[in-house]
Structure formats: C-alpha cells, structure tokens
C-alpha cells in the first residue's frame, strides 16, 4: 500500500521544514488529503511520487511559515556563494609550498572498521545530519537516506543540477568529518 510505503519518507521530508514530529505528521496528513483531492487533476507529467512530494514540500513550507519558523528557503535555491571548504584548509600545505602545494599536511587517518557499524556511530551520523543547514539536510536526507535519484530531488525541491550537487557535497563532507572526529 502506497500510504504505508511512503509515509515514513513523507514524515522525514516534512521534518526538514517543521520543528516537531507531530507537526510533520499533521503536514503529511494534510498532504494526503490534497493528493487525494487533486488526484483526478494529476496529469502524469511527473511520477506520482514526485508529484506527491512536491505537494508535501509546499504544504510543509506553508506550515513552517505559519508556525513562524524562519527557514532560509531562498538558500535552498541558492547555496551561499562563499565556498565552504570540504576539509579544513589547515590540513593542507600552503599553495606556495615548494614540493607539494595544496597537498595533505594532515591526511585523513584510518578509521577503525570494527566501530563503524556500532549503534553509537549511527547516532553520530544522525546527529551530524541534524546539525546541517536545512537545505543541505534536505538534499542528503533525500539522496542518501531515502535513496532518491538526483532528478527526483531536483524536481521535488526545485533545484538546479549544480546547486543540488553543491548542497549534497557540503552535507556529505561535513558528515564525513564528524565521523573522522568521532572515530579517529
């Protein structure tokens, strides 16, 4: 049944926009009603899933605004122009280094494999995702947790190909760093 299959994903995506689980549940219920109410107007130009999630995103955004939660939606479409380093610049040799400019001065350490699948490690990852800016959290949640394609994410969040990739890369880079901070 679609409802069961999509429900947890819908709640997760709604939680990107609204502050609490119960608000997210409400947003999802409202979304189902809107989806069902508009089903006969669904034109099949996108997949039913993409269409339903687009309705969810709109519903969640409206709800978030009503709740007075200010999310920089504009930044969903426009990642800050200031480049964010994937790795602390201090960990590289200077650009004018004579033998290895821009090379690692402090390369990534080996991660202990036995601790990777531990419950604590999962918690560290979940916390790192929670701590991301909303736009990065939205993209990594949909791409890497929910397993959506880049096209599905771009359609649901109305992002360009490049912006989707920039946000995904920033999110992944930060999660990798927190994994290293925790394990190494």
């Amino acid at each position: 049944m679609l409802v069961r299959e999509w429900h947890s994903s819908l709640v997760r995506v709604a939680q990107i926009f609204v502050p609490t689980r119960s608000l997210a549940e409400e947003v999802v219920q409202e979304t189902w009603l809107r989806v069902l109410g508009a089903l006969d107007r669904f034109e099949g130009r996108s997949s039913l899933k993409t269409w339903a999630f687009r309705i969810l995103v709109n519903t969640a955004k409206t709800r978030a605004q009503r709740e007075g939660r200010v999310i920089p939606f504009s930044s969903l479409h426009d990642p800050p122009r200031i480049p964010e380093a994937s790795v602390d610049p201090e960990r590289f040799l200077a650009d004018d280094h004579d033998r290895h400019p821009g090379g690692w001065s402090s390369p990534p350490p080996a991660l202990p494999e036995d601790r990777l699948i531990a419950a604590e490690t999962r918690e560290v990852i979940a916390k790192a995702i929670d701590a991301l800016p909303a736009n990065q959290r939205a993209v990594i949640s949909l791409r890497d947790v929910e397993g959506w394609s880049s096209e599905e994410v771009r359609n649901a969040l109305d992002l360009s190909e490049v912006n989707q990739r920039v946000l995904l890369h920033r999110a992944r880079s930060k999660v990798r760093q927190s994994l290293e901070d925790y394990l190494a």
């Binding site: 219920q29 790795v87 590289f92 490690t121 880049s150 992944r172 880079s173 290293e180």
Partner: protein
C-alpha cells in the same frame, strides 16, 4: 587555454561528489583518476567519503508509529465518507 595542471589534494576533495555523480568532464575525470592513483591521502579520503554515503544510507527511516497510522486511517475514512457524500446522485 587548456589547463593541464594536475589537481592538488585540496582541489580534489572538492570534486568527489562530482566524480561520484559522473559529472566531471573527460579531461577532469582523467586528472582526478591520475591523482588518486598516486596519492594515498586522497585514496583514503575517497574511500571514507564513499563509506560515509554507505553509512548514511544505512540509517533506517522511522517506522510508522501505530498511533500515526491509526490517525492516518481516520483521515482516509473521513475523506472517503466526504467524497462519497459529494458524488452526484444518479
């Protein structure tokens, strides 16, 4: 002018998602792979980046709580009742 300079490690770490998404130009793809082939630090970085993606993917989306599910069923019931009520009588 074609830039034929090799990537530095600091440049390479910014390109990993582009690499994994298959979005690098053929020339950049070659530079990326040549760099990785000769650099232990970046090889490890790439491995850890892929591992991160795998571990993120292993997070389980929350299961539907029974309470949420029954609320949802109520929503459906009222929707069905409402739409049945709206049907023109034929």
């Amino acid at each position: 002018m074609i830039d034929v300079e090799a990537f530095s490690c600091q440049e390479l770490v910014e390109l990993v998602t582009e690499y994994l998404e298959g979005a690098l130009s053929p020339a950049d793809l070659r530079r990326f792979e040549e760099h990785i082939a000769g650099c232990d630090g970046c090889t490890r970085y790439l491995e850890e980046f892929k591992l991160t993606i795998e571990l993120v993917g292993a997070l389980t989306p929350d299961d539907v709580s029974t309470e949420a599910e029954s609320e949802l069923l109520d929503v459906f019931r009222s929707w069905r009742a409402q739409s049945a009520g709206n049907q023109p009588e034929s």
